[in-house]
């Protein structure tokens, strides 16, 4: 108890002393104790316990006690809810607020909002809201009270008037009979309906069915007067001086029309005016309010009564129709929204779809704020809609997964409202709902809709997150398997030359004296060649890794083509010694805009490839030509050429051309060529030459206008 009362804000605690309960009896509560803090008043940040009984209440087993608050009318709504909540706190009990439908329907707009914010607050602090049908209210309450877990019933003092008092007493009698174990606490109804300092509430246009229609607007007043007048004219024209009942039917028609269009009160006025008009004009004695025949008096009275009853029914029907229409609209919207979310492919799209759909449907500016991986909300687009951005409130909503802001349990006066968007295992961000005016924008039904929408958004985000994770896992697996096959190939290709080296060198050591000079030289030569082969293999593997990692930066400059070809020839030097080499270059100053180191490597790999596949001693040709806007290089050999259908495959990783079984080396050389050329924005292809043999040719486009590189004689020198 001590700990609990420390948790309860002071204004709630103040009333504890007088809020004692008396088992099995009815106790009137001292009204003074409730003056301090109406339930609807804002609770200061930090004072309010995070969840005095909210989360706990839901987690409680069914057997734990429950406080039932019966809100028959709205007169003492705040005090009722306040008492219920306090009692539930003290008893560590759950609580239910039962509220008849009629009570909600018959309220003016401002009052309805007020009530809904009270109910919202109650809900936020753990209350279950129960809406009761209008018929047999007492019986429902008694039935509820007979449920084992109801410990106390909080209700307000009956309104003055015989009927209401009789109803209230009947309830108490029934309770004492049926559920004597339930404590009944009656809250005084003294004081005005709403606290005078309550902030004015302004309904946002089109946010909910307008109950203002049940009030007197200018149009409603006009109709309520016009309809009796027209009915009078019509009925006099039709029936002359017939029986009053005939006339009254015409009036009734008009009254029902007003009721269905403008609600109860205008139609009630129309009914009274109709009675007066018919009395004055159509019932003898004419032009007087006096009634000659007593049966006419009865007819008028019955008419008035039935007109008012019919008005009420028509009004109720109208309201319910509107509600049904709206519910249908919401369901349709929810469906459309879900469908739109099902199609999204990225979180950006989720944000866009959410912002546009929700802003339209809720008639408020909505912004989905997603948290970054560090759990920080991006404030950048929060103020995009001219909405004030309350970073602390948004962050709090995100971190606690509780709504913060307007009409919520936490910081109810702080605009805008932040609804947390969380999935089953992940918090994604918050939905900011607000208007430029800083007014509350969502009513209770809209709040429920918003909650449903937010959970859809969370689901969509969850789906994307899982998909992304699955993709990452797949990519990882693919990378793994690629790496494994690469490792396999490399290990295999290293093993072959290693075997020759080990065998040859051990023969050299062991066979000293038995080997002839030429035999020893042969073995040493084989060691050298195999070693060089391994070095090339290692280089290719490293190049591959470097290129695949994607962190290769090209340093493109303008190079004379002969310099590039010359560099290749120089570097290949010794390996080309026993091959007739032909270099083909155009006249003039052909240029290429390339990373020379890389392109020399491509050409080296191509020459290496030619050396590998073309027979020993056969000629090799290296050439280059400058085209309009690009530069082409080629390497041609007189080997067996490329098998049909392999023209593309040979550039794939690990592919070996025909004769691959006898020729060593992972098929990485050509893949490296392809990657480097592609990095330059060029393309490489292989064809068979008419004269026999293969030609590999690659073309690299210029990315800048070609400079004129005519050697300026003596220009640019120092002296």
């Amino acid at each position: 108890m001590g700990a609990l009362s420390r948790q309860i804000p002071s204004r709630w605690r103040q009333s504890e002393r007088s809020g004692e309960k008396v088992t099995g009896s009815i106790r009137m509560m001292d009204d003074a104790s409730w003056q301090q803090g109406p339930a609807g008043a804002p609770v200061e940040e930090g004072q309010r316990p995070a969840h005095p009984c909210g989360v706990e209440a839901q987690a409680r087993p069914a057997a734990t006690p429950t406080v039932l608050v019966f809100m028959r009318e709205m007169a003492a709504a705040e005090r009722l809810v306040g008492a219920g909540r306090r009692l539930a706190d003290v008893l560590r009990a759950g609580w239910i607020v039962a509220c008849p439908v009629a009570a909600v329907e018959n309220l003016a707009d401002a009052d309805r909002q007020r009530l809904q914010s009270i109910l919202g607050l109650a809900e936020a602090s753990g209350a279950e809201i129960l809406t009761l049908a209008d018929h047999g209210l007492n019986e429902r309450i008694v039935a509820l009270a007979r449920r084992g877990d109801i410990a106390a019933l909080v209700l307000e003092q009956a309104a003055p008037g015989f009927l209401t008092r009789w109803h209230a007493d009947a309830l108490l009698r029934a309770l004492r009979r049926a559920a004597p174990q339930v404590d009944v606490i009656v809250v005084s109804r003294r004081g005005s309906l709403w606290t005078p300092d309550a902030p004015p509430h302004v309904a946002s246009p089109g946010a909910s069915p307008s109950r203002a229609i049940g009030q007197f607007t200018l149009a409603a007043a006009a109709w309520s007067v016009a309809v009796p007048v027209v009915a009078t004219l019509v009925s006099t024209a039709l029936f002359r001086r017939a029986e009053p009942t005939n006339h009254l039917i015409i009036y009734l028609l008009g009254i029902l029309f007003v009721a269905s269009r403008h609600g109860f009160w205008p139609s009630a006025v129309a009914a009274v005016l109709s009675v007066l008009a018919s009395d004055f004009l159509l019932i003898a004695p004419y032009h007087s309010f006096a009634v000659a025949r007593s049966e006419d008096l009865v007819t008028l009275a019955v008419f008035l009564l039935s007109a008012i009853l019919a008005s009420r029914l028509a009004d109720r029907l109208r309201y319910q129709t509107e509600q049904a229409l709206q519910r249908e609209q919401r369901v349709r919207f929810l469906y459309e929204f879900t469908k739109a979310l099902a199609d999204v492919r990225s979180t950006d799209e989720v944000v866009a779809v959410t912002n546009s759909h929700l802003s339209r449907e809720l008639s408020a500016s909505c912004h989905l704020l997603l948290a970054d991986p560090d759990g920080r909300l991006a404030a950048a687009d929060a103020s995009a809609g001219g909405m004030p951005f309350n970073a602390a409130a948004a962050q709090r909503a995100f971190e606690t997964s509780d709504p913060v802001g307007w009409g919520t349990g936490s910081r109810p006066q702080a605009a805008p409202m932040y609804l947390p968007v969380s999935g089953a295992s992940h918090r994604f961000g918050v939905l900011a709902v607000g208007s430029g005016t800083g007014q509350p924008v969502l009513q209770a039904e809209q709040r429920r809709l918003a909650d449903a929408l937010v959970s859809q958004v969370a689901q969509a985000l969850e789906r994307l997150r899982l998909a992304a994770e699955a993709n990452a896992a797949t990519a990882m697996a693919q990378t793994e398997s690629l790496r494994n096959s690469l490792l396999n190939s490399i290990a295999h290709d290293f093993r072959t030359p290693l075997a020759s080296i080990v065998t040859a060198s051990s023969t050299l050591i062991q066979g000293k004296g038995r080997l002839s000079e030429s035999q020893a030289r042969e073995l040493a030569q084989s060691i050298l060649e195999e070693g060089q082969r391994m070095a090339r293999l290692a280089n290719n593997t490293l190049d591959m890794a470097r290129l695949e990692a994607g962190n290769v930066r090209l340093r493109r400059e303008w190079f004379p083509m002969d310099e590039i070809i010359g560099a290749v020839v120089t570097r290949m030097g010794a390996r080309l010694r026993d091959r007739p080499l032909r270099t083909v270059l155009p006249e003039g100053e052909p240029l290429a805009q390339v990373d020379a180191v890389m392109v020399v490597q491509v050409l080296e790999n191509l020459v290496e490839n030619a050396l590998k596949f073309a027979p020993e001693g056969s000629p090799i040709e290296i050439g280059a030509v400058e085209g309009p806007g690009d530069a082409s290089f080629w390497v041609a050999d007189c080997g067996p050429g490329i098998a049909p259908g392999e023209e593309r495959l040979i550039f794939e990783k690990f592919h070996r051309g025909q004769g691959g079984e006898t020729t060593s080396g992972v098929g990485l050389g050509l893949t490296i060529c392809r990657i480097i050329v592609a990095a330059h924005g060029g393309h490489i292809h292989a064809v068979n030459r008419a004269a026999g043999g293969a030609q590999f040719r690659f073309t690299i486009p210029f990315v800048e206008p070609r400079p004129t590189m005519a050697a300026e004689e003596n220009s640019g020198q120092a002296q």
Binding site: D543, R555, P560, E563, I565, E589, G716, Q719
Partner: protein, 237 residues
């Protein structure tokens, strides 16, 4: 080969490469000292005054580039750097810091010995202004004092810049000169960015001096690093 043995210091942490280097170089009659790390290398360099230092850039204890800077305090000492393949940036920086040449691992003995010979000759030679330079690889003779270039007894006309370029390359006989170095020395300070000029003039020189510019024998391009001039004609192994 000179009458006194040339002294070579090898600073290399890998025992296999050290073994191969010392076996080979001793077999060819050089006086050899080996250091396994930078600290020992500095000590031995001071102690033995080597003519040539063969330095591995990937030493465990010191940054190879800093090591070059330290060794450079003795002007007559040649530095041959051993480096991994592909690291063009590092090569350029090493050369700019004062390394004279580099060898990319793995290298053949023939290549190693050729570089060592060139380096040692450079170490013993100083260039005299009126000397005539002979570039055997392409049969070209340069008369520095009279600004004349003769190929196969035919005089070839070179522009002043081309002349300065070939003389600069020849003076460093066989050494790789970075673009920056060449631009600085031929064009003067402030032209370090104009590698385009360098390429044009070098292309011009090739056309005038090389028998087949696309298969150069003397004016060698080292992609991403610079240029070198091969003085000797290539001999078979």
């Amino acid at each position: 080969m000179s009458q006194t043995k040339s002294v070579i210091l090898v600073i290399e942490d890998d025992p296999q490469i050290r073994r191969v280097l010392s076996t080979t170089l001793e077999a060819y009659g050089y006086e050899l000292h080996c250091a396994v790390n930078g600290a020992e290398g500095k000590k031995l360099a001071a102690q033995h005054q080597p003519d040539l230092v063969i330095l591995d850039l990937g030493l465990p204890d010191v940054d190879g580039l800093n090591m070059i800077r330290d060794l450079r305090t003795r002007p007559m000492q040649e530095i041959l750097v051993l480096s991994a393949r592909g690291a063009e940036d590092v090569k350029v920086r090493a050369l700019d810091l004062g390394a004279d040449d580099y060898l990319t691992k793995p290298f053949g003995v023939y290549e190693l010995l050729a570089r060592v010979r060139v380096a040692l000759r450079r170490a013993q030679h100083t260039f005299v202004a009126d000397e005539s330079i002979v570039i055997n690889s392409i049969g070209v003779t340069i008369d520095v004092a009279r600004h004349r270039v003769v190929r196969d007894s035919v005089e070839i006309h070179l522009t002043p810049i081309e002349f300065r370029l070939i003389v600069t390359l020849a003076r460093h006989g066989g050494k790789i000169l970075t673009h920056e170095h060449l631009l600085n020395e031929v064009w003067g300070p402030g032209h370090e960015e104009s590698t385009q000029y360098l390429r044009i003039y070098l292309g011009g020189l090739r056309k005038k001096l090389e028998p087949n510019p696309a298969q150069p024998r003397a004016l060698i391009t080292v992609p991403g690093v610079g240029y070198s001039l091969t003085m000797d004609s290539v001999a078979g192994e």
